[in-house]
């Protein structure tokens, strides 16, 4: 996400403004700390002119059952 943002020459603040969230939300998304809603993920992907699949990787944490 950071890479794509840089390619579009956008700062975290610019991207936050584009998708209508706080700058910290973009920061935590880039660090992989925050799991966004489907709507936010979609909005970010659209702002960066890419698809959801290319931008986010679904990584299900292994449970004890696994």
């Amino acid at each position: 996400m950071k890479e794509l943002r840089a390619r579009h020459d956008l700062t975290q603040e610019d991207l936050a403004r584009k998708v209508g969230v706080r700058r910290e939300t973009i920061l935590f998304l880039e660090k992989g700390k925050y799991n966004p809603s489907l709507k936010l993920a979609h909005d970010v992907a659209q702002a960066l002119e890419t698809s959801l699949d290319d931008l986010f990787i679904f990584d299900d944490e292994p449970t004890e059952k696994d």
């Binding site: 403004r17 209508g20 706080r22 939300t25 935590f28 925050y34």
Partner: protein
Amino acid sequence: MNPTNRIVLKAIATLLLILTMGLLGYTLWARGKTTEAGMAAMIAVTVGVFAAFALRNMAKSTRKGLPLEDEFTKRAKTAAAAFAFYASLYWWLALMYFQDYLAKHQLPKLAILGSALIFGLRYFYLTRRGNVD
């Protein structure tokens, strides 16, 4: 609601809280209860300092065209509230255990202050850490 109006409303609410605590502190001081008056003053100052920082950040965000609240802060608030509810149960249990050593009129104040503090600290922690799940 317009973000500027929201900031003004929050500033007024904070000012009212500080004034109330100040008035309470003064009344207690006039009655000779200096320790409790000091506590009220401390709360007023703490709220004032935190509110000043928070309101400044809100004004900055509004000027930059960024929202004051988004899905992340809403989720953090919900998670902090849930945590505060469970943690408060233990806090109230502790107060019940120590009620013989405390004045009766102090118990509700301590219960409310404790719960508010737990919520505030948890919200602060979650919004700094980023993981609200």
